[in-house]
């Protein structure tokens, strides 16, 4: 049965390509990253070789390795993706998918596929877009705008700390960002699998990129398919940058923000109101 479904997948990929030249609207959107154009047929062959073991012949995340893996491989038939530059509920851009394949996902079984050529990776993206009708005839999604970063000074960090309290980030991520907030133990993803909020003290990189811009994007667009909502409707860009600067102080790394924060704490620790249920808005 499995070889058969695999064969059908290939046939469907051919079908998608045949349609590309025609007038029918039932076509997955074209795939471009930079000046590289993806081709689903080539992607299908690469998928068979590199991806099928976890993501499965039907792209539904039920490959033969899936039962041993946590978190579970992405189900491409649902077309719901964590790491996006686009608003919650939107498809990701081709660049988002390319970045995810290139970066891999730390703390999961998905490795960085840097060994594949850029053309290979773009072909793979063209192919995984054939697994869901959501890509069919859909307009190319638009990324959110990220204005230039504001200065990461102590005032910005303190404002970010207030935002962390006000938006109740601590309910899941915990008052100190240890991923141990009051709701943390109850969280499930959209497939009802248990999921943990990010623990900032773990020292691991973020799944969706490691720069301040990536961090900005993560909470502004949310991680679709998980409990992490989007905050773009509730934060002005300067407030979002403040939050980025504060979140950096929760990580055990020597970022400029963390050093500024350590210096501040040496003389002002007693002035801080606690974060959490007793925390005020100041």
């Amino acid at each position: 049965m499995r070889p058969q479904t695999r064969w059908i997948s290939l046939v469907s990929a051919w079908g998608a390509v045949l349609f590309l030249g025609g007038e029918t609207p039932l076509v997955a959107q074209a795939t471009h990253v930079g000046n590289v154009t993806g081709q689903a047929t080539r992607g299908a062959r690469l998928y068979e070789r590199y991806c099928v073991g976890c993501h499965g012949p039907d792209g539904d995340g039920n490959g033969e390795n899936a039962m041993w893996i946590d978190p579970k491989p992405r189900d491409f038939t649902a077309a719901v993706f964590k790491c996006r530059s686009t608003p919650s509920g939107s498809l990701p851009t081709d660049q988002d998918l390319y970045d995810a394949v290139t970066r891999g996902f730390v703390t999961t079984n998905m490795p960085p596929w840097v060994a594949l050529t850029p053309q290979n990776r773009v072909d793979l993206i063209a192919y995984i877009k054939t697994f869901s009708p959501r890509w069919t005839g859909a307009a190319a999604p638009t990324a959110i705008t990220i204005p230039p970063e504001t200065p990461a000074n102590i005032e910005s960090i303190l404002r970010g700390r207030q935002t962390f309290q006000r938006l109740e980030c601590w309910k899941c991520h915990g008052p100190a960002g240890h991923g141990d907030g009051p709701s943390a133990s109850t969280l499930t993803d959209s497939k009802d699998n248990p999921i943990r909020p990010y623990n900032f003290s773990s020292g691991t990189r973020f799944k969706c990129g490691d720069t301040n811009q990536d961090l900005y994007r993560i909470f502004m667009t949310g991680l679709d398919g998980t409990p992490m909502p989007s905050f773009i409707d509730n934060l002005q860009p300067n407030e979002a940058w403040d939050l980025v600067h504060f979140l950096r102080t929760l990580q055990p790394v020597k970022s400029p923000e963390a050093l500024t924060w350590q210096n501040y704490l040496q003389t002002h620790r007693g002035e801080l109101k606690p974060i959490g249920p007793e925390g005020g808005s100041q």
């Binding site: 509920g89 949310g222 989007s230």
Partner: protein
């Protein structure tokens, strides 16, 4: 096979809808008929449990007695509340109303528990609480999104293009569960605690009437409405404790 058939089925369904819409008679008969009935259950339904909101004191203090879960709400005479009853075939879809359906978060509960709306109709979601919620409708046919809504912020405006029964949850307050029932028809009703519903304004003809309940599933039956008459359609769900 699902992946390849699904789009085709979707297209056929859409074509069917479009055909239904254009087949609408220009002038309806003066005396429209009604389908009414009662939804009941046999067997033992699961017991609803009191909700412990102590982790969210601002909501807990809004309730003198603990709020009960609402997955299966029954009334005297074995009636079932929150059953969506709608005409699933036989009536033209009709354009979506421009009037928004209101969905409230109050006391860390969704009010109403089940919001019924038409595909394309606006939906406004309000946070009346002193705490942040995240609205997470777990759509599968429509796009799944997840947005935070702190206290005092404006309503979230949403709408869904395709018919779907969408479970709604708040990840911060795991006891919060509700549904968006997105239908392609304007002929729908939701049962009250007495299990009763009434679908008015139906021209004489044959219809398929469907009843949906979040735990009991769906049931359909054929109903013939005479001009100005009232047809009866009662639904009985088999309840199993789990």
């Amino acid at each position: 096979m699902n992946r390849h058939l699904a789009p085709a089925i979707g297209v056929l369904a859409l074509a069917g809808l479009a055909a239904a819409a254009t087949d609408a008679p220009a002038a309806r008969p003066a005396a429209a008929g009604t389908v009414s009935g009662t939804v009941t259950f046999t067997g033992t339904p699961p017991k609803m449990r009191p909700i412990d909101m102590s982790k969210e004191p601002s909501c807990a203090k809004e309730h003198a007695t603990p709020v009960m879960t609402e997955n299966v709400v029954t009334g005297p005479g074995s009636t079932v509340e929150y059953v969506v009853v709608y005409v699933s075939a036989g009536a033209p879809a009709g354009p979506a109303p421009t009037q928004a359906v209101r969905y409230d978060q109050k006391g860390c509960q969704y009010i109403p528990h089940v919001a019924v709306l038409q595909a394309g109709q606006p939906l406004d979601i309000y946070n009346n609480d002193q705490t942040s919620h995240n609205i997470h409708p777990l759509a599968k046919v429509n796009p799944e999104w997840n947005k935070s809504q702190p206290p005092g912020t404006p309503p979230i405006h949403a709408s869904y293009d395709k018919p779907e029964f969408i479970p709604v949850k708040c990840n911060v307050h795991p006891w919060m569960h509700g549904y968006f029932a997105v239908l392609s028809t304007s002929h729908y009703a939701i049962t009250g605690n007495d299990g009763k519903f009434s679908l008015a304004g139906l021209p004489a003809g044959k219809y398929t009437v469907t009843a949906w309940h979040e735990r009991f599933g769906t049931q359909s039956q054929e109903v013939t409405v005479s001009e100005g008459g009232t047809a009866t359609a009662n639904f009985v769900f088999k309840a199993l404790p789990y």
